[in-house]
């Protein structure tokens, strides 16, 4: 029994548009998953079903065995934390510490636990110096870290990141990748919705490809990303190293996982 299961899930909007069509898939505990597809393919709609923000029009979604139709979002949020793309849709408190403890209070944690988790979150995300500051005066990158901090503060089993790299510079992206790896080794299930194929390539997750509300591809990152017809039809670009591999007329070992792999291969070939 997987942690998260989708069985025949179809979702139709109020205006009649079908956003998800017969989705059947599952995510296991401790998995690292990337979801790709063009804008409007249904990626965000899919993840909103995991914490019950959306309930399927037909089919079922279960989290830890519980049908999402039977419980409220607030209940599911306890185990599924979603960090949405725009921090300005979330930040509202008068101080960074209140922002981080908001969810903890909603979930009814004890004061002593709240204090411990707050201190951890501030430290882990490098926000200690802003403890008493207003979230609204932070820079874009700091706001993103604060959003993540306020979600990880309550230690959900599943962490969903919706387009986490938008507007981030190279250094911020590296830090983000590090955080993802750390969370993964701590046993968390991580689901990342992203356009940023280069970012996903460095993480090598299981990759789910969506197109027009359906799942059209599902497998290891390296295998899926170098399936050019699939990527092309889903309108997803391939990372540069994959393109390079294709251009070099394919070697049997498969695509280059990083720059140094490409370097050594080219070095050997030129001898």
């Amino acid at each position: 029994m997987s942690l998260i299961e989708f069985r025949g899930v179809t979702f139709v909007h109020q205006n009649g548009v079908t956003a998800l069509s017969d989705i059947t898939t599952s995510f296991d505990k401790g998995e690292r998953v990337g979801i790709v597809g063009e804008n409007g393919a249904g990626k965000t709609t899919l993840v909103k079903h995991i914490n019950g923000l959306l309930k399927p029009t037909s089919g079922t979604v279960t989290v830890n065995g519980t049908n999402t139709r039977d419980v409220s979002t607030a209940h599911l949020a306890r185990s599924v934390g979603i960090a949405f793309q725009n921090p300005d849709h979330q930040l509202f408190s008068d101080s960074v510490e209140n922002e981080i403890t908001f969810a903890l209070r909603n979930f009814g944690f004890e004061e002593s636990v709240i204090k411990k988790r707050l201190d951890w979150a501030l430290g882990f995300f490098g926000l200690e110096e802003y403890r008493k500051s207003s979230p609204l005066v932070l820079s874009g990158g700091e706001k993103k870290r604060l959003t993540l901090a306020s979600i990880l503060a309550w230690d959900p089993e599943v962490v969903v990141l919706d387009e986490p790299t938008v507007g981030q510079d190279a250094i911020q992206k590296e830090k983000l990748a590090e955080i993802v790896r750390m969370l993964h080794s701590a046993g968390k299930t991580i689901i990342i919705v992203s356009h940023d194929v280069e970012f996903l390539w460095t993480l090598q997750p299981r990759l789910v490809v969506m197109k027009q509300g359906r799942i059209v591809g599902d497998g290891p990152c390296a295998k899926i990303m170098h399936d050019w017809p699939l990527m092309e039809s889903a309108r997803v670009t391939q990372p540069q190293l994959v393109q390079l591999y294709d251009e070099l007329q394919r070697r049997p070992e498969g695509p280059f996982l990083d720059v140094s792999a490409a370097r050594s291969w080219i070095g050997r070939r030129s001898e």
């Binding site: 909103k48 914490n51 923000l53 409220s72 979002t73 607030a74 949020a77 306890r78 599924v80 934390g81 979603i82 949405f84 725009n86 300005d88 849709h89 979330q90 930040l91 509202f92 908001f102 969810a103 909603n106 979930f107 609204l136 306020s150 979600i151 309550w154």
Partner: protein, 246 residues
Amino acid sequence: MYWLAGGFLFRRVISPFHRLDPRIKLIVAAEFFALSLAASSIIAISTVLVSILAIAVLARSLRRIGRTMALSLLFAGLIFGLNLVFGLGLLKSLTYALRFLAIISSTSLFFVTTSPDELEQIMKWIRIPRDIVFAFVTAVRFIPVVMLDTFQIMDAQKSRGLELERGNLITRVRNMVPILIPLVVNSVVRSGELAEAMESRGYGSTPHPSSLYRMKLKWYDWTVFFASLLLFAGALYIYHFFHFPF
């Protein structure tokens, strides 16, 4: 809520009525409005209502106007009941209730058939200052955007354990704070970005900006204008001088 708003939102439709100059549409709606107030008998007010519905058919917006009427039935019923209670008699109470429906639907007729662009031109025509007109236009333009923002904010906060559907009145109001603050902040930030974009495209660089669209009265506008004026005057005369049985 969404359904209610539908009765006053403009929908792009091709119809003989839509094609009229917005000023004529305004006049026609205003004439209906005035007739609703002048009609003091059931027959009279019923003819007004039927006429409004007839124009709604001409404007291919019967469903929308009908929806507005249906929704106002509750309030109309209230008016009927109150008047009855205060001893105005069955017929009179019914007349007042119908009058209410006619007023609401004549207003709805105008807004459903007039695009925000046309509204803007009417405002400029009656010499409302450009900045105010622009503020109105922008506000209406961003209504769908703000609505979308609200839903996204609600999603984000619900995902942090915020319960919006439970609790007594006080709790529910308090739970609106995490929704309202981001909304307000986003609106303020948005105005800043709008101001930058406006400046960057030369807003305010001349005291007399020109306009892509302009209102021009065509032959059918004049025809409708005079025809409606005649009917209006005629109806007024009849309502005033003819004594209806009820």
